[in-house]
């Protein structure tokens, strides 16, 4: 067991749950994929050279003024609608005032008591059960610059000698989605947290409003957690954990915080309201500098911007652009494909819904599409450590491979070699078949000769077959296939063997 700072042993998760009821709050920041920034026309391209996408506005130079990006507002409203929120008929931006070198104006233009969307909910699937997470609010704000901390040993802020700031990211539109306290998850809290972030990611992907790549920072999650002795007890003091950069981290961080806080409380200590930092490598959270008092942000309405009045017509127009809800889409596809509940769950779990859908559209049967993606291709993805959708093969190509099999041009085994070829970048399935000469030999003459040779080389086996043991044909088939380098239709080989030896 790892030791916490207090020296107490970390309580086992299950034991923690016997004694406490966890309550979570998840804050997710979504970086929108708009072409320009929230308040200025600078580009938002990821990975540009430092300070090449800045202007007086996003640099916070004296005299600069913000002008709101229409697309960002639309995306904010669509996100709110997709989360079943009320959309504010009238709202404003507010200044959140605090000093930090990555904030050019030393205030963040955000929304305070007038968020554009509020009081919504979203339903998750957690281990086969539906879990509803209520959404407190979704509001618009702007991102900060990025700092490199130099001179310290870890590259983190502690121990650094100085920092280098790049403001390319400053001013990129962010939507912050805040849940209401998530109660009643009990032992499933880690799974619920993970499922929520995954689900939110899917919703956002479906809306097309963000790249939602946690590893690139376009989806960021802060985890708030508190414990109470039992569900009807008042809420305990919560900690906030940042640097949670993957779905896996979300789950692990929740799990760890539950154990950590439980250990503290059982040992007679109390939870400090603070910001903690998650370490994926060591699997623990560590304390940030605890503040004596909460920062006073001195919010007031942003005087350089005018209010946003989203009228009914505009909201309904945006509502009509919402894609089908992921859960509804899945139910529909499951029915169309004739998959059982468990089968569909496997597909969803593998992140293969879109892939299979496109493979089916390209002509394959659902069963075949599922077979290829969930077995062969999933294995290859796992081996190379990439996500399924990052494999170098398209659904259309997979459908082509299936078509090759169905036409008899290749058999199953050869088809796998075709996949290898496509993944290796050798070209389309047809090109791979041609260049690697994988086509099944359909010339009976050549096959027949190979069968004769196998029979001659294996007289004992041949005798058994003549004697009625049809099952023994397998060895001969194997021999023929070996000679033919797999480029034979096994069924035809068997037929030839049987006819020659009967």
């Amino acid at each position: 067991m790892t030791t916490t700072a207090s020296g107490a042993d970390l309580m086992a998760f299950d034991e923690a749950l016997e004694r406490f009821d966890p309550v979570m709050g998840l804050e997710v920041h979504v970086e929108l994929n708009t072409v320009s920034k929230m308040f200025c026309a600078c580009a938002t391209t990821f990975g540009a050279e430092p300070n090449t996408q800045v202007c007086p506005v996003c640099l916070g130079l004296p005299g600069a003024l913000p002008v709101l990006n229409a697309k960002a507002v639309e995306s904010a409203i669509r996100i709110g609608l997709a989360l079943n929120c009320e959309i504010a008929r009238w709202c404003r931006f507010a200044r959140k005032n605090y000093f930090y070198p990555d904030m050019p104006k030393n205030f963040q233009t955000s929304q305070y008591d007038e968020p554009i969307a509020y009081h919504g909910y979203t339903d998750l699937d957690v281990g086969g059960e539906t879990f509803r997470v209520e959404i407190e609010r979704a509001h618009m704000e702007e991102d900060t610059g990025k700092s490199l901390h130099m001179g310290g040993s870890t590259g983190r802020i502690h121990g650094a000698d100085y920092s280098l700031v790049d403001y390319n990211r400053a001013g990129i539109p962010l939507i912050e989605v805040v849940t209401k306290p998530i109660e009643g998850a009990g032992g499933k809290a880690p799974a619920v947290a993970r499922a929520y972030v995954a689900h939110l990611r899917d919703v956002l992907q479906g809306l097309g409003v963000s790249d939602v790549r946690m590893e690139q920072g376009s989806l960021r999650c802060d985890v708030n957690l508190s414990l109470r002795p039992f569900p009807s007890a008042p809420l305990g003091t919560r900690s906030e954990t940042k640097n949670v950069n993957s779905l896996r981290s979300v789950e692990r961080a929740v799990r760890y915080e539950i154990s950590r806080q439980a250990s503290l409380l059982v040992a007679g200590g109390s939870v400090v309201q603070e910001t903690r930092h998650w370490h994926e490598d060591t699997g623990v959270t560590t304390s940030g500098r605890s503040k004596e008092q909460a920062e006073d942000y001195r919010y007031f309405p942003e005087p350089d911007l005018v209010p946003i009045a989203a009228d009914h017509a505009w909201i309904e127009e945006l509502r009509s652009t919402l894609p089908e809800q992921p859960s509804r889409r899945r139910a529909r596809l499951q029915a169309e494909w004739g998959f059982a509940e468990l089968e569909m769950r496997d597909v969803v779990g593998a992140g293969a819904v879109d892939l299979i859908e496109h493979t089916v559209i390209a002509g394959a049967s659902p069963a075949a599409a599922k077979k290829w993606w969930l077995s062969e291709l999933a294995r290859r993805a796992n081996d190379s450590g990439v996500a399924l959708h990052d494999l170098a093969i398209t659904p259309e190509q997979v459908a082509e491979v299936q078509a090759l099999v169905e036409s008899g041009r290749v058999n199953d085994k050869l088809a796998r070699q075709v996949l290898d070829g496509v993944l290796a970048g050798e070209g389309s399935p047809d090109q791979v078949v041609a260049s690697r000469r994988l086509e099944v030999v359909s010339d009976d003459g050549a096959l027949s000769a190979a069968v004769d040779r196998a029979i001659e080389a294996n007289p004992d086996v041949a005798a058994k077959i003549r004697g009625g043991k049809a099952a023994a044909a397998g060895a001969l088939i194997g021999a023929v296939m070996k000679e033919m380098r797999g480029q034979a239709d096994a069924g035809r080989v068997r037929e030839l063997i049987v006819s020659k030896l009967s």
Partner: protein, 510 residues
């Protein structure tokens, strides 16, 4: 050859059009005048001779092309140092921006350039526009050309003094609580604060975002109108700029009929607290308006008495936030704390702001931080915004009865340098008549109403119009100006003491 610096902007524009004079000649004449008198007046923080002459040459070349010209092509102008001018130092009168060269032009500067107006330089001001005497400039005060021992008003004392001293025919100022109008009043010149949103704020270093406006400073109503026409108009870079076409102010200034005009004298802006001579000249001016065909009634705007308090809560609040960006990280002054080995960013910020900001700025930042802080917001900032609504309603009710409102622009004539420096509250009272217009966003003009008997110093009359009715100010102002100048036998400025002589003698004394 006529002294080119004595020409009004309108007359100079005409002389340029007829080819009697070139822009290079006119610009050079003003640069010479600046060199002659500015050591004593100190209206300018930076003179851009090279840039101005280059623009002048370009204006002359453009005129030679024979295509339709902007009205003020080739007429030089001075710009308050709070406005960003690309490649030209912009300090806002503060040490924290000493040496800062903006990498961009304010929109209004772009418009000046597009109109072919050479920019002579940047004028002095109270630091970050906080003040009404220009004594809070980090680079020394500007002196009133009428009496070099007196203040020229503020925060835009430099722009008004430049125009008063014939160093520039026109200047651009900014007005948050009276910083164009009050200097106009104490220097005998014309100053206009347009309707909020009338002139783009993009590139104007923000003091109080919901109150700031840029406007023209000139020696006549027509000149101010001509400049107003150049700089006003919608700007997509400023979300608060008004998206409606404006009528021509110059045309409005040329209209000379105010028969039937209803004028309201604001009871709360006058009488006790206003210098006798100021009140007297105001009353005389009102009488002249009646003679010109207007009707006068008294109106009451009872909540104007709370305007000062509301203003000194709203302004510091917004300013405390606007000035947070001056933190030594990206531009401007960087000062490290003494005797600290490896100071943190926070320490450098604190040391820089302590060294770079003057007293008045510090006062208002602290005040604003307090007014916005947790537990005090509702009582201070929140309440002030409600009083602001009441002030706006007072204006609306008044304008239901009358077409324009009038008052003395400022309660006193120019006081002596140093006289009110130790008493912030006394200083704030200079803006008591001008502040209501900023709170409500309505346009206001100050024009000279004559000299006070007791000290022979200029006084100003303020005209206020409903939002969007800036043109009305110019019509009324022009008529009044004509009547007054007829009485005086010429512009009030003709009565100002000759500056060159005063400049020479005052320099002897230094």
């Amino acid at each position: 050859m006529t002294d080119l610096t004595r020409l009004s902007a309108a007359a100079l524009a005409q002389a340029l059009r007829t080819g009697d004079v070139t822009s290079v000649e006119a610009t050079r004449a003003h640069l010479d005048r600046i060199a002659e008198v500015d050591p004593a007046v100190h209206a300018f923080l930076h003179v851009d001779a090279e840039g101005a002459l280059a623009s002048a040459a370009a204006a002359d070349a453009r005129r030679a092309e024979g295509v339709p010209e902007p009205a003020l092509l080739g007429v030089p102008v001075a710009v308050k140092d709070i406005v960003a001018t690309k490649g030209v130092p912009t300090t806002c009168g503060s040490r924290i921006l000493e040496g800062w060269i903006p990498p961009y032009d304010a929109t209004l500067v772009k418009r000046l350039r597009e109109a072919g107006m050479p920019i002579l330089g940047k004028t002095n001001m109270d630091e970050f526009a906080m003040g009404s005497s220009t004594e809070h400039s980090a680079f020394g005060p500007t002196r009133n050309p009428w009496d070099l021992d007196r203040i020229p008003g503020g925060s835009g004392g430099g722009s008004s003094a430049a125009v008063t001293a014939y160093e520039a025919p026109l200047a651009v100022g900014t007005d948050t609580g009276g910083s164009i109008r009050q200097p106009g009043a104490v220097t005998g010149t014309v100053g206009v604060k347009p309707t909020y949103g009338g002139v783009s704020r993009y590139g104007i270093v923000a003091l109080a975002s919901s109150l700031d406006q840029a406007g023209p400073v000139a020696r006549s109503v027509l000149d101010a109108a001509l400049l107003h026409d150049v700089i006003a108009g919608h700007d997509p870079m400023d979300s608060t700029s008004i998206d409606k076409p404006w009528p021509s102010m110059a045309e409005a200034a040329r209209r000379s009929d105010i028969t039937g005009l209803r004028i309201g004298v604001v009871r709360e802006l006058g009488g006790e607290g206003y210098q006798t001579g100021v009140q007297a000249r105001f009353d005389d001016a009102v009488a002249l308006l009646v003679k010109s065909g207007a009707e006068v009634v008294e109106v009451s705007c009872p909540h104007f008495e709370l305007a000062l308090a509301a203003y000194y809560l709203i302004l510091p609040s917004e300013a405390s936030s606007n000035l947070a960006r001056f933190d030594a990280m990206r531009f401007g002054l960087r000062v490290s704390p003494e005797n600290v080995a490896a100071p943190s960013a926070e320490q450098v910020m604190e040391a820089t702001r302590a060294a770079g900001f003057g007293d008045e700025v510090k006062r208002r930042i602290i005040l604003g931080t307090y007014a916005l802080s947790s537990g005090y917001y509702e009582a201070y900032y929140g309440q002030a915004q409600k009083v602001r609504t009441l002030v706006t309603q007072n204006f609306q009710a008044a304008f239901d009865q009358v077409d324009v409102l009038v008052s003395p622009t400022a309660p006193t004539t120019a006081f002596r340098i140093g006289e009110k420096l130790d008493d912030p509250l006394a200083m704030y009272l200079n803006d008591i008549a001008t502040i209501p217009a900023n709170l409500a966003g309505v346009p206001g003009m100050s024009l000279p109403s004559g000299l006070a008997d007791e000290d022979g110093l200029p006084t100003g009359i303020q005209i206020l119009a409903p939002a969007l009715e800036d043109a009305r100010l110019y019509t009324v102002g022009a008529v009044l100006e004509a009547s007054l100048e007829e009485q005086w036998g010429g512009p009030l400025l003709d009565q100002a003491p000759a500056l060159a002589a005063a400049a020479a003698s005052s320099m002897d004394g230094r």
